[in-house]
């Protein structure tokens, strides 16, 4: 059989994987599938952050090799969601200084496990990915730490995992976080799309 692919979201202290098929992967201020609970808030001043989300690609099936896993969005997250990128709002993704930008999440597959459970004040504000003390341990001490996900387009996708994999696998994970500022707009947001691509040999 040809390959079967699914995007998973990791939750909890151990990073339990939950398929995003059939549900909506919302940004919120809790660690877990939120439904409509604990939505992102607009701060009176400063910046509020969603709890960061950790997603990966899982592929099973018959193949010789899978490699070159990239992600990109359908662009315009900040504009379509009224996040006010000019004042610091936006959707951000964690990046490494060199090599794959993805987060190793499996010692056997990736050599290490750098998954970190999202945290913060439930219902209000998550820890910023790049916060030097309680940000994401895999990114907070790096030089760049994060980039605006709107820059990750179909023409310039973000490399998550160069692989290669020769058997069923979970890829390295990408970490996304929504930032809101006082001038961000309230209310339900229009649906947006994240796309994962890979080469199969």
């Amino acid at each position: 059989m040809a390959e079967t692919a699914t995007i998973y979201r990791l939750y909890g202290s151990s990073g339990a994987k939950q398929s995003l098929a059939g549900i909506v992967g919302r940004f919120c201020t809790q660690d877990g599938i939120p439904g409509l609970n604990n939505p992102c808030k607009i701060p009176a001043s400063g910046v509020y952050h969603s709890f960061w989300v950790t997603d990966c690609l899982g592929i099973t099936g018959d193949f010789n090799q899978v490699r070159d896993i990239y992600i990109h969005g359908d662009e315009g997250f900040a504009e379509d969601w009224g996040l006010d990128s000019a004042n610091g709002g936006g959707l951000f993704v964690g990046v490494k200084d060199t090599g794959d930008n993805g987060l190793p999440i499996d010692v056997t597959l990736h050599g290490s496990n750098e998954y970190a459970q999202a945290g913060g004040t439930v219902g209000t504000d998550g820890y910023a990915i790049d916060n030097v003390s309680n940000g994401h341990p895999a990114y907070r001490s790096l030089t760049t730490k994060k980039v605006d996900f709107d820059t990750c387009s179909a023409d310039a996708p973000l490399r998550i995992d160069s692989g290669p994999y020769t058997d069923d696998f979970y890829s390295k994970a990408w970490v996304l976080q929504l930032w809101t500022v006082p001038t961000s707009t309230y209310g339900a947001k229009s649906p947006k799309t994240v796309i994962a691509t890979y080469n199969i040999f």
């Binding site: 040809a2 995007i7 549900i23 994962a196 691509t197 080469n199 040999f201």
Partner: protein
């Protein structure tokens, strides 16, 4: 769990004239990987026929018949050729109707099959409200009729749900002597 839907398949012709197809034409079994270590003389891309699509689906893969044109690529002896398939998995937001279970585009507020939509109900007026006051700062939805007397919140009646549908697209990338060819598995409109 998303699988690619194949609308065309490849046949690899070896220098001795033998053929290695991506799907066995007799059984529909997926038997070919995109990479092949030996020399190849020709790669042919052919549309999936209705009978082959049935056989492929019987083996657990996804295929649909198409009328995509046949493409033939000759690989001269000694020419370096690389071949792989690219997969693209999209999480596409969708609406689902709570009445008739129709799935439809998120741009629509109303179910195109049964015309159901999310509504607001005012207990004081005992009526559905078409144009409620949405106060985002106060996080309230209020009745415009009651607003002049005693402002009253509305009850949401949710009939349209959200979910993400996995959509899987695939295409082939064939590089012959440094020249790159993208072979789509669908027809661009």
């Amino acid at each position: 769990m998303a699988q690619p839907t194949f609308r065309r398949f490849w046949i690899r012709i070896l220098p001795d004239g033998s053929a290695l197809p991506q799907f066995d034409p007799e059984t529909g079994k997926y038997c070919g990987f995109e990479s092949y270590p030996g020399q190849v003389a020709q790669i042919i891309f052919m549309a999936i026929t209705p009978s082959l699509a049935e056989k492929i689906q019987a083996n657990g893969d996804r295929a649909e018949p198409s009328q995509l044109p046949t493409l033939t690529f000759d690989i001269l002896p000694g020419t370096k050729a690389d071949f792989h398939r690219a997969g693209s998995l999209r999480l596409e937001p969708m609406h689902v109707c709570g009445f008739c279970e129709a799935e439809f585009a998120p741009e629509l507020d109303t179910c195109p099959r049964c015309l159901a939509k999310n509504r607001w109900y005012c207990g004081a007026c005992d009526a559905l409200v078409e144009n409620p006051i949405i106060d985002q700062k106060a996080r309230q939805v209020r009745c415009p009729v009651c607003e002049a007397t005693i402002p009253r919140g509305l009850r949401g009646i949710r009939r349209i749900g959200d979910f993400a549908e996995e959509k899987h697209f695939t295409h082939y990338v064939l590089t012959i002597g440094g020249e790159r060819h993208i072979i789509l598995d669908y027809k661009r409109r």
